[in-house]
Symmetry: C2
Subunit: 245 residues, 2 copies
């Protein structure tokens, strides 16, 4: 009945062709719907983790705090993402989930995954592979935090976002909306808001990026990619070994 597009279906369909049965399984995850205002913490580290979440609209981020208030943003979530997988391994959440803007989410119980595991070897393989791909993405993040300068970090950050957005939105140009403030970008990159501002200014003066009212434009994407040795981990994945749908 729902004629609305599903971002999760879009995202998964990018990697494999889903049959009717699999489509039904995926859509069944997006039945319920909850909305949250910008800035709200949807869960916090230590909370019991009984549910996962599909992002329907809006951006969010997962972060870990240090006791004195330092914050590290670990992952940014876009429409179509499934949030909460890392916490399946534990009984309590290891990160905080915060809405970066007004969002709509589709929560579903962890145990609904059982149905997928039992009924669809294809979706099981895909979810497993996505978990491993996410490890590589986290490794890229580690590389950026450990060994890149501030300019390289910001370049990496923007390219990574663009690559991810292009999966769900294939026709995307070199421009996208960036609903994060500079404190949040800094917390993702291990920098301060002040230095993010300065670094963005540098990149802009050098003609690599442009900004206007909440949008970023990657003017010289090749130069940005070379500066931080960027590799797109989203466009290509090895699905050759998957079982048939």
């Amino acid at each position: 009945m729902s004629s609305q597009r599903s971002c999760l279906v879009d995202k998964l369909s990018y990697y494999v062709r889903l049959g009717d049965g699999d489509l039904g399984l995926v859509r069944s995850l997006e039945k319920a719907e909850e909305s949250y205002a910008s800035g709200v913490d949807i869960y916090r580290g230590g909370d019991a983790t009984k549910r996962l979440w599909v992002v329907k609209s809006g951006w969010l981020f997962s972060a870990t705090d240090l006791p004195d208030g330092r914050r590290q943003i670990v992952r940014i979530h876009h429409p179509g993402d499934v949030i909460g997988f890392p916490d399946i391994a534990f009984e309590n959440a290891t990160t905080n989930l915060t809405a970066a803007e007004p969002v709509t989410l589709c929560p579903f119980p962890k145990k609904d995954l059982d149905v997928i595991f039992q009924q669809s070897p294809l979706l099981t393989a895909l979810l497993f592979t996505l978990a491993l791909r996410d490890q590589v993405v986290l490794i890229d993040h580690i590389r950026a935090l450990g060994r890149m300068s501030a300019e390289e970090k910001v370049a990496f950050f923007l390219l990574d976002l663009a690559a991810r957005l292009r999966i769900v939105n294939p026709g995307m140009s070199d421009t996208f909306r960036l609903p994060l403030n500079q404190s949040e970008i800094g917390d993702a990159l291990g920098l301060t808001n002040v230095y993010v501002s300065r670094t963005f200014g540098m990149l802009e003066r050098r003609g690599l990026v442009a900004r206007s009212n909440g949008f970023v434009r990657l003017i010289d994407e090749a130069a940005l990619a070379e500066s931080c040795d960027f590799i797109d981990r989203y466009a290509g994945m090895d699905t050759s070994w998957f079982p048939p749908g």
Copy 2:
């Protein structure tokens, strides 16, 4: 016939009770054996990834290089670890694998995992959960690199190693062998070898750790853990939802 202990069986048995069938599947992964000298690169980023590796003896590490030679060590591998999971998602390796000392490995083809997926829902669930647990471990690493001082990073590094070693070696004391030089430790923590030396000296002068001929002793583990807000991700995992063996 093989009366030799299997570190992989030890590690997996820590989390679930394996039946005879599962034990046979796991042991079958450790048939072949290869040895490498200290410092050898076993594979490099870009190589085709057809095999995974179980570590039988010795330490190794996975690292990514930047084009100008900067290096980020991403993960340290101990006996019982399975190396190469993140690369299943891609056709080519994303990191270099280097032997930190003389090592013995048991390689097995990626496709041998199919047998496990088909025959053992328990092992499938365990491997999936370990992949998600590893995401959390990588997130902890991100937090350390992005938001910790050098002293906190070194404390975190040592505690993380100790927690991992205790899984396979339950009776371990507060002392362990650390076959990594300070350049390697620095590359894991986003520091230089020089600053690792200074930081180790500080911790030693403050009575938190001690070193002697390749061994580290964690004198005040509680203080170290508090300084970096350490949480052991290895001791406890949620296996309650696993299917029976």
